[in-house]
């Protein structure tokens, strides 16, 4: 079996590149999608991408602080999800729609 041209250890920048790709996908979902729940899930994807960057830098600096930051990000994301989904429920109850384009009464 021929030896695969893979490095024995992964460069640190690959993790950061993966984080950047996931963040860009989160931005794309946030801007493309019209369903308010999918928009909200794209925000969670961006938070996850940033968490990966925190843990990667924590490895690089050999400090545990980055893990604690991403732990706090998780806590805030949980609180945000609870309040955000309650707001979505209220919006749906009042307007019978989930399309972000149609929720525009503050525009006029």
């Amino acid at each position: 079996m021929p030896e695969l041209p893979l490095p024995t250890s992964v460069p640190l920048s690959w993790y950061l590149l993966l984080s950047a790709i996931l963040f860009a996908l989160g931005i794309a979902g946030f801007l493309y999608r019209r369903n308010i729940i999918t928009v909200f899930m794209s925000i969670e994807l961006m938070l996850n991408a940033v968490n990966l960057s925190f843990v990667t830098f924590s490895y690089k600096l050999k400090q545990v602080d980055g893990h604690i930051f991403s732990f706090f990000v998780m806590v805030v994301a949980a609180a945000e999800a609870a309040v955000g989904l309650a707001i979505i429920l209220t919006v749906f109850k009042n307007r019978r729609t989930l399309e972000v384009d149609e929720i525009d009464s503050m525009k006029y």
């Binding site: 493309y32 400090q63 309650a86």
Partner: protein, 166 residues
């Protein structure tokens, strides 16, 4: 072995992320997001963060995504309609996004020119003991503030979602 694991789970994360953006039905997006979160937990393990990997699976892939799936079920939302703006956004947005990614990749390569590779087991500071020690000494005040934040979030969610009783 490290490289194989990284490439496998990074590929899963990217494919699931693309699927999240492309799918029109929210339940498909939610399932792809669970895939992203699970593969990110494996990557945290490779970086030596065993506590954060477990918290990722329990808090994100468990609790938060259950909330999302439950809301999708409750609102019974179908696939979204295609509008004229979506095709316009595709023509302008994709090149801009590619440019953004290119700039970030250039900065990362410039900032870490000869950074050492990631070896599994080289950093063992991410255990629950180490994180607990730091959280309850150096980060005690932010930790207490987050408990107040969670309390406010619970109250806000209840006030927003309850039925009006007259």
């Amino acid at each position: 072995m490290d490289a194989i694991l990284f490439l496998l789970f990074a590929a899963i994360a990217v494919v699931c992320g693309i699927n999240l953006v492309v799918q029109t039905h929210p339940i498909s997006s939610a399932l792809s997001l669970i895939g992203v979160m699970g593969s990110l937990a494996v990557l945290y393990l490779l970086l030596g963060g065993e506590f954060i990997a477990a918290a990722q699976l329990i808090v994100y892939a468990g609790a938060i995504m259950v909330l999302f799936v439950f809301t999708i079920m409750l609102l019974n939302s179908g696939a979204e309609k295609k509008t004229l703006k979506t095709t316009k956004a595709r023509w302008f947005g994709l090149p801009l996004l590619a440019g953004f990614l290119g700039v970030i990749a250039f900065i990362i390569q410039g900032a870490l020119p000869k950074a050492e590779g990631v070896k599994f087991g080289a950093f063992t500071g991410g255990t629950a003991q180490q994180i607990g020690w730091k959280v309850f000494t150096q980060y005690l005040l932010p930790f207490e503030i987050t408990s107040v934040l969670i309390l406010i979030a619970i109250l806000g969610a209840i006030v927003l979602a309850r039925k009006e009783i007259d």
